[in-house]
Symmetry: D2
Subunit: 182 residues, 4 copies
Amino acid sequence: MTPSDVELVGRYTDIFQIGARNCQNYQLLEEVGRSGKPVMLKRGMAVQYEEWLLLAEYILAQGNPDVMLCERGIRSFETYTRNVFDLTAVPVVKHLSHLPVIADPSHGTGHWHLIPAMSRAAVAAGADGLMIEVHHDPSHAMSDGAQSLKPERFRALLPELQVIAGAIGRTLAPVREPIAAD
Amino acid sequence: MTPSDVELVGRYTDIFQIGARNCQNYQLLEEVGRSGKPVMLKRGMAVQYEEWLLLAEYILAQGNPDVMLCERGIRSFETYTRNVFDLTAVPVVKHLSHLPVIADPSHGTGHWHLIPAMSRAAVAAGADGLMIEVHHDPSHAMSDGAQSLKPERFRALLPELQVIAGAIGRTLAPVREPIAAD
Amino acid sequence: MTPSDVELVGRYTDIFQIGARNCQNYQLLEEVGRSGKPVMLKRGMAVQYEEWLLLAEYILAQGNPDVMLCERGIRSFETYTRNVFDLTAVPVVKHLSHLPVIADPSHGTGHWHLIPAMSRAAVAAGADGLMIEVHHDPSHAMSDGAQSLKPERFRALLPELQVIAGAIGRTLAPVREPIAAD
Amino acid sequence: MTPSDVELVGRYTDIFQIGARNCQNYQLLEEVGRSGKPVMLKRGMAVQYEEWLLLAEYILAQGNPDVMLCERGIRSFETYTRNVFDLTAVPVVKHLSHLPVIADPSHGTGHWHLIPAMSRAAVAAGADGLMIEVHHDPSHAMSDGAQSLKPERFRALLPELQVIAGAIGRTLAPVREPIAAD
């Protein structure tokens, strides 16, 4: 992204998401650091925990304190799932830093039917947020349909997560409804 | 193990544990299959889910239905933890088979301070059991002290797990106290 | 393998091969160590170099000095090849030990058309031997046909390897012809 | 890199090198594609062969035919070496495409003493070029000293590589001497 791209996107977005494939694009990290907007930094497919925290420093060093890390799975030999969803990242990052950690079971597993169990696990591990793909018609989604929940399944998951969150002394913030396409 | 080893161990143990390094020792799998005792089969460090289930078949095919699978972490590039504790194994195995799944956060992470969070996550993901190393004096343990909880920390974890289990409609069986060394 | 299995196989074989899946079957390692026959120890799919050398010690410690190590590929995220054929194992093992190293490009790559290039590379890296699968009718082989050379391709490879060997001051021992099936 | 960065660097460099960490920076790939200069695209640490070739398409699609791929090692569980130097990439890329392949045993292994063997192996596997770090005083290098050859070792390697190249019907282009720092 050129500076003007970050500027352009920044006019419309609340949060910049840096994807796994660009998490070592140091120039982009510095630019979103200067944007003044919160940044969610996804973990690269072969990035170690300590390297990930050092990548966050490129953003923080620009004076932007609003950085979230997002575990979305790493690459390994297992082919059944899209990635290996490494939830140990949650307590490790909390042990090593003060930054909030988000978990993305959609990319982490690649299969909608694995999302409920792994969402519950992420909350139980202490994740500060979840990123779940939702689509009203996943089989016709332009991308990532296989890892998207239908809105009704997503709604059914929320009370389960609420109970898990309560079990570890936390609460679930109200969820904004998926945006309707019409 | 020779047949007489399995026979000898079988006189004293309630459950055979097949470790990660011997999970593809086909002859041993068949022998414990013939033992008539329950078997806990740990996942090898580079074994895919479907291969793991096929390894279980070596035991089941001997007429022994009492097989448990145990996720204990796989090998990857991350060096902060001893292994990558792949909790997605829990819902995947439950999706593909009827076998119970145990989670071992001690080997899975290698660090005692990560065990509570990952135990909670394992229960939330639907694990049917946990294997946690406990030692009254971990810094002098003959092995695996770094991944062992002290008895008091272990006891403090149980009510937390009880609440998580309840949140997904399950209960925690009473835990047998760690055996005292005296 | 029970002791009698090692004894039985030992009556007919010149060399014991311990496969990747049993390279951490410590009892088997000790038994072939006591057999008095040479042993080729394949590297496990997730075994580090130093662990591999320590596995060899189980054999050597029985008084059997005739141990060869065999690199046959490790597991990684690449799915185009059967394994990742890690030829750096050759100079590393030679740096750390006195044991001979064999390279197996058949298992290492899984594709017959990659065998010639990787055989040349293995010899150039200093491998002390090659293990190449050969079959007169690969498409009907009971196993591993896709990674088998036809006899004529194997024969054509030998002079190329001879030249590479010569280039690093070594020679190729005469090759025993593939055994005819009749 | 912003367009002006590519423009600025392009004034002084003969070849753009895209490092492993930016090989999925799609915007940068397109910009160097438009630069009219040759581009060497390093393989990312967790990039599969077919993904790598698709990354090259971002450059080629801009009308720039001068793309070289560079294998520099992938991430795995082995910690003795800096990376796992995957030389099978050489015949695979040649099988799947027409692009030249360079091998970088410095990054691939991380140890100067492994460079000679793996350079020979790379040439024998069919690599079209080598990228070897050379430093007159490696122990005081600002970076990568451990994986740098001294000039005299580098010079001693060249005739060995010449012979290997000859063994597979190729020749070694004359090497430009390392630039003196004075």
